[in-house]
């Protein structure tokens, strides 16, 4: 545990530091622990990927950090933004941070724009609220922002409605709105899921460029490890409300520790695979967050789980690299892992040689 804290402390003062964050939802079936004790640091100008399957709490985590939760949610723990404690702050006092300090790009650009308001007005809105710009200044800045997100014919777009634009253009508009007040940190919640593949990479490149020239931190939430590979400095893998592995991107891809992360990596199809190679799926579904399994939460779905895994939850521990932490009793490469892998290969469940 002390090692974990050491790794969190490393480097300069983080922009956002999250400690022991829990987000609970009161539902009719019981208390849903969507985020269950998360520690994270987000540094200025750096980009962090949060990865996991659907229903693992990635989206809730990003919204919890920002404080954008429905009224049924309850937040515990600590989120510090440049020394300000955000947990417990009222919605009214959070408005000072939203838009200007932290901002968000949403998953589906089809529904994250107001259908009955012109694009120009929607971009100008935050400028006028936060920066107190006049109508004409706001319009000029809106035009600049549209140019900055490289929308074709920006002048015409100002007067159009969302339904007149393509998905990719809409997402560019959403990004322009999110960037409008110069946030220090941008949360992008599956920003490319609703878009087709060619547009995906353009949007990710765009976010990366804007990150660099604004020295803005980016948190990229996605279920697709392929997406974060080229666009993040660090990756945190989430499972059932907890972070199960966290490492700098290169280190993670080179030296996976947690079997869950490995499964996620294996589930990405590769161009150099033989044709008709079967995709690796992770069997089962993420656990019910009302009544999570005891012990390691991934154990019920893990091919390498042993008795201990079902009983005792593994703590986050670091590897030789203090920035790489994982929560697993029998990580990839350990004697027990190798032994089980041999058995699996022998019985034909796994194909050797792929990681």
């Amino acid at each position: 545990m002390s090692q974990t804290q050491a790794s969190l402390r490393g480097g300069p003062e983080p922009l956002v530091s999250v400690r022991g964050l829990r987000t609970l939802f009161a539902t009719e079936r019981g208390l849903v622990r969507a985020v269950d004790g998360v520690d994270l640091n987000i540094h200025k100008g750096r980009s962090l990927g949060i990865v996991g399957e659907s229903g693992c709490g990635k989206t809730v985590l990003s919204r919890s950090i920002m404080g954008l939760l429905p009224s049924t949610a309850h937040r515990e723990g600590s989120v510090r933004y440049e020394g300000h404690e955000l947990v417990g702050k009222s919605v009214g006092s959070m408005r000072r941070f939203w838009g200007q300090e932290m901002s968000m790009v949403f998953q589906n650009p089809m529904v994250s724009l107001n259908p009955v308001m012109r694009i120009g007005e929607q971009i100008a809105e935050p400028l006028r609220i936060h920066l107190g710009m006049s109508r004409s200044d706001a319009r000029d800045t809106a035009l600049q922002l549209l140019e900055e997100v490289r929308i074709p014919e920006p002048k015409r777009r100002l007067r159009q409605y969302a339904h007149e634009l393509s998905g990719g253009m809409r997402q560019r508009v959403v990004i322009a709105i999110a960037l409008s007040c110069g946030p220090a940190i941008l949360f992008a919640d599956e920003p490319t899921t609703a878009l087709d593949v060619t547009v995906q990479s353009q949007i990710l490149d765009l976010i990366a460029e804007r990150r660099q020239d604004r020295n803005m931190a980016v948190v990229l939430v996605t279920h697709d490890l392929g997406v974060v590979a080229g666009h993040t400095d660090e990756i945190a893998v989430m499972y059932a409300g907890k972070i199960v592995e966290r490492a700098p991107t290169n280190e993670l891809f080179a030296n996976v520790k947690m079997p869950y992360t490995r499964s996620l990596l294996r589930s990405i199809p590769r161009l150099d695979d033989d044709p008709h190679t079967r995709l690796h799926a992770i069997s089962g579904r993420p656990p019910d967050l009302i009544d999570p399994p005891s012990g390691c939460r991934f154990a019920p779905r893990c091919a390498y789980a042993r008795e201990k895994c079902h009983v005792e939850a593994p703590p986050l521990q670091s590897t030789e690299n203090p920035d790489h932490v994982y929560a697993c009793w029998y990580p990839v490469g350990s004697a027990e892992f190798v032994e089980r892998e041999e058995e699996l290969v022998a019985t034909g469940v796994h194909v050797r040689g792929r990681q």
Binding site: M104, Q107, V111, N114, M117
Partner: protein
């Protein structure tokens, strides 16, 4: 092929034209070349009511007053009552519905109870109670009928607000730091207003018919003429047999207007695909 693709259609524009014509006629009635609605056009040697003729297009009533002129003048009160009633319903019900749908929690519970009470009250009884206890001025009648519209409008407003408040663009507006007031006025209202427009046309038709009902009970406005009061005038058995035109004039106007309102409202509802309207 959805209705939206076909546009609003000829019938809709015909209905709207009729509504515009009748509204203009009502507004400019005193300046139109109509007969004086108060004048008794007695013809020597003949007993009124007189049947339709070139001088009295829709005939006259028992006091030899021109039915056509009176029907046009009656439109003034009837349309004002219909419009006033639904405006009241929309302003109060819409506010209540949007606030309860947006804030949820206690606001929602209280507003829902208020609407449930309003809905459980038999409408006509409430109207009779209020008009019997208070004066029977234009405003009282309009507001009474408006109260009956609060709950249906409120429920529609609440339902549409709930739908739109869940949309990401509202969260997005919060994420850039918009205040509640701004979110309601700028993000929600423009969206919620569309289904309400369809409902308001239907509601206006209902209010106009309801005024007719009140008039039949002798509880409509005490001054001036309304379509309801005009119909009542010719509604005796003997008059209906011998001089059906006395009621026929105002009835046909009321019929056409209500038909136009209903049809336009329906088309608008289909066009914007508004679901579960209950009135």
């Amino acid at each position: 092929m959805t209705a939206a693709r076909r546009g609003l259609g000829f019938g809709f524009w015909l209905s709207i034209s009729w509504l515009i014509v009748i509204s203009l006629a009502a507004i400019f009635a005193p300046w139109l070349p109509l007969k004086d609605p108060g004048e008794n056009y007695i013809v020597a040697g003949a007993r009124p009511p007189y049947g339709p003729s070139s001088t009295h297009w829709l005939g006259t009533d028992q006091d030899a007053r021109d039915v056509f002129a009176r029907t046009i003048f009656g439109a003034r009160t009837s349309l004002v009552i219909g419009f006033g009633a639904i405006s009241f319903g929309i302003i109060l019900g819409g506010t209540l519905g949007v606030l309860s749908g947006y804030f949820r929690g206690w606001t929602d519970r209280i507003a829902s109870i208020v609407m449930l009470i309003l809905l459980s009250f038999p409408g006509l009884i409430l109207a009779i109670l209020i008009t019997a206890l208070l004066d029977r001025g234009l405003a009282t009648i309009a507001i009474t009928l408006g109260i009956l519209g609060v709950a249906p409008v409120g429920r529609l407003a609440r339902a549409s607000t709930l739908v739109f408040a869940e949309r990401d663009f509202v969260t997005a507006a919060r994420a850039i730091g918009s205040s509640n007031r701004r979110i309601i006025v700028r993000e929600l209202l423009p969206n919620v207003v569309i289904p309400m427009a369809a409902l308001s046309l239907l509601g206006m038709a209902i209010a106009i018919v309801a005024e007719g009902g009140l008039a039949f009970l002798g509880l409509s406005v005490d001054e001036g003429v309304t379509w309801g009061k005009l119909i009542l005038l010719g509604a005796g058995t003997r008059d209906l047999e011998r001089a059906p035109w006395i009621s026929f004039g105002p009835i046909s106007m009321l019929f056409l207007t209500v038909l136009a309102l209903n049809y336009a409202g329906d088309r608008l509802r289909d066009y914007f695909d508004v679901k579960d309207i209950t009135l």
